[in-house]
């Protein structure tokens, strides 16, 4: 009994490591075949429509609400210490550093990541990828790489939009609704938020998340068993794996970026 479960654990581990190995090779293949994605940028633009533009609504609406909640909760907490003026700092800092990149990435993983996996998985299941190969067109260059770069370009833009929308939401609730002084809201925010430390690091985070999510989504689709069951399983795995990866990466990146501050 015990022997069996240890063997199962070992087997699982080996499989997991093997898959990571495949994923890394897949990533390298994408890098090597990225020429087409830039030479014929139209292909990448098309994919940006599907991953970027179509994620806009969910990103903007969620950003607005997250910002509004931050404004409300932040005010409740800050006013007990009599420092409502710092509301701008609280809203902006939490959005720019953490919530913007992370929540936008989680939404992106479930909105665009799952769609990418399902699409690639179905293309594989219906032999479209094989057909492409038989037509002497490399599917990695023609199908995978443009989607990868579209995701990597879209992610920081979406994260920035999320943060901007969130700050606007915080402003609406804090300044317009509750009545925090508008001048101190913005000026405190400006003096506290640093370009390099906060905004640039947030952008770097979102680029890393974009790379991670699109790689996982594309790999899961490309690796999916060519059945309805296989594709749906791969789609679920994309959302779970990329969400966990985003959170883990966020911890690592935060530890590196802001360690000097504590």
């Amino acid at each position: 009994m015990l022997k069996e479960s240890i063997a199962r654990l070992g087997n699982r581990t080996l499989q997991g490591v093997g898959r990571i190995g495949f994923a890394v090779r897949f990533f390298v293949a994408i890098m090597l075949h990225s020429g087409t994605a830039f030479r014929r940028f139209g292909l990448t633009i098309r994919e940006m429509y599907f991953s970027g533009v179509q994620s806009l609504v969910i990103i903007l609406v969620s950003g607005l609400f997250v910002g509004m909640v931050l404004g409300l909760q932040g005010y409740e907490t800050l006013q007990t210490y009599g420092s409502e003026d710092a509301l701008g700092i609280l809203v902006a800092m939490s959005l720019v550093r953490e919530l913007g990149p992370v929540v936008a990435a989680l939404l992106f993983a479930s909105r665009a990541g799952s769609a990418i996996t399902a699409e690639i998985g179905l293309m594989k299941a219906t032999e479209q990828l094989s057909a492409m190969e038989m037509m002497a067109v490399d599917p990695i260059a023609r199908v995978v790489a443009p989607r990868f770069w579209a995701g990597v370009i879209s992610m920081p833009l979406l994260a920035a939009l999320f943060s901007a929308m969130g700050i606007f939401g915080g402003y609406l609730v804090g300044v317009q609704l509750i009545g925090v002084d508008e001048g101190s809201f913005w000026s405190q925010m400006q003096s506290a938020v640093d370009f390099e430390q906060d905004i640039l690091n947030g952008v770097i985070k979102s680029v890393v998340f974009g790379i991670a999510i699109t790689t996982i989504a594309l790999f899961e689709g490309y690796d999916a068993p060519p059945t309805a069951e296989g594709v749906s399983g791969a789609t679920t795995r994309t959302v779970v794996t990329s969400s966990l990866t985003v959170l883990a990466l966020d911890f690592v990146l935060t530890a590196f970026m802001f360690r000097g501050l504590s």
Binding site: L122, M123, T126, Q128, S130, A131, M134, A136, V137
Partner: protein
């Protein structure tokens, strides 16, 4: 023509892991002929097509297309050779995110710098050849199975290949579409000077149009000959296949332990 035989397969063996699929196949396809590879489901016919297309490499033996041995080609050489091939996949494998027109234009756009006007004319010509010029603006989802198959055929011949392979071109078609597709394959082969290899288990439809037939069973070629030879053949396997009989050398049961033993009849039940 430098070679009379466009495709030459010599003593090819292939296996998926421990399961042998092909064990020493010899097969040739002459230019201008329609060749059929027949056999029951799962006998390795599709594997054979994938070997000719270079998507998989044989464990043993050589596959030569237009005089070039596929095993010795690198990726670039393989892609170069594949431009001389077209392939019709089982369910068409049309790109579902493109219109019929864009599907047929795909290779022209990928492999040539032709102006859009020229591409348009060529695509409409190919679509006309399969009788679907009027469907150019439709999406693959709006096509019937037979129409999708014909669009895929137009796409396969878009670059005027020398060799076209068909994976089960008759599967899942109604009798009318069946006849249309069969005639189309024969006509295109003759008018465009193609060589066609079709993999099928539809005996009656394919015997009407093919020049030469190979029967594959258990990974080896069990019979070959012209359509008339096959019809007249008295080999038990071919006879069973052509006449669709349930009993014969191919049994209904997958190899298994004796029935009685499996059901634990002879034993004392607990």
């Amino acid at each position: 023509m430098q070679h009379d035989n466009l495709v030459e397969i010599e003593d090819v063996a292939f296996d998926y892991g421990a399961r042998p699929v092909l064990k020493g196949i010899n097969l040739t396809a002459k230019r201008g002929q329609v060749i059929a590879i027949m056999g029951s489901s799962g006998c390795g016919k599709t594997t054979l097509l994938r070997l000719i297309g270079g998507q998989i490499k044989p464990r043993q033996g050589t596959v030569r297309v237009a005089g070039e041995s596929l095993g010795e080609l690198n990726q670039a050489g393989l892609y170069r050779l594949r431009r001389k091939m077209g392939m019709l996949f089982q369910f068409g494998a049309l790109f579902t995110d493109m219109t019929v027109f864009d599907n047929v234009a795909f290779q022209l756009r990928e492999h040539s710098d032709l102006p859009e006007d020229a591409i348009r004319d060529m695509v409409l010509m190919k679509l006309h050849a399969v009788g679907l010029r009027g469907a150019a603006h439709l999406m693959p989802a709006e096509l019937s199975g037979g129409m999708a198959r014909r669009v895929a055929l137009a796409r396969a011949i878009a670059l005027d290949p020398q060799l076209v392979m068909y994976d089960e071109p008759f599967a899942g078609l109604d009798p009318i579409s069946l006849g249309i597709t069969g005639n189309l394959i024969r006509r295109l082969t003759d008018t465009l000077g193609l060589t066609s290899i079709l993999v099928t288990h539809d005996v009656h439809e394919s015997l009407k149009i093919v020049d030469y037939v190979y029967f594959v069973s258990e990974g080896v070629i069990v019979a070959e000959g012209t359509a008339d030879d096959i019809r007249a053949s008295d080999l038990p396997y071919v006879h069973q296949f052509v006449h669709g009989e349930a009993e014969g050398p191919v049994t209904f049961h997958y190899p298994a332990a004796p029935y009685v033993e499996d059901l634990r009849l002879g034993r004392q039940s607990a």
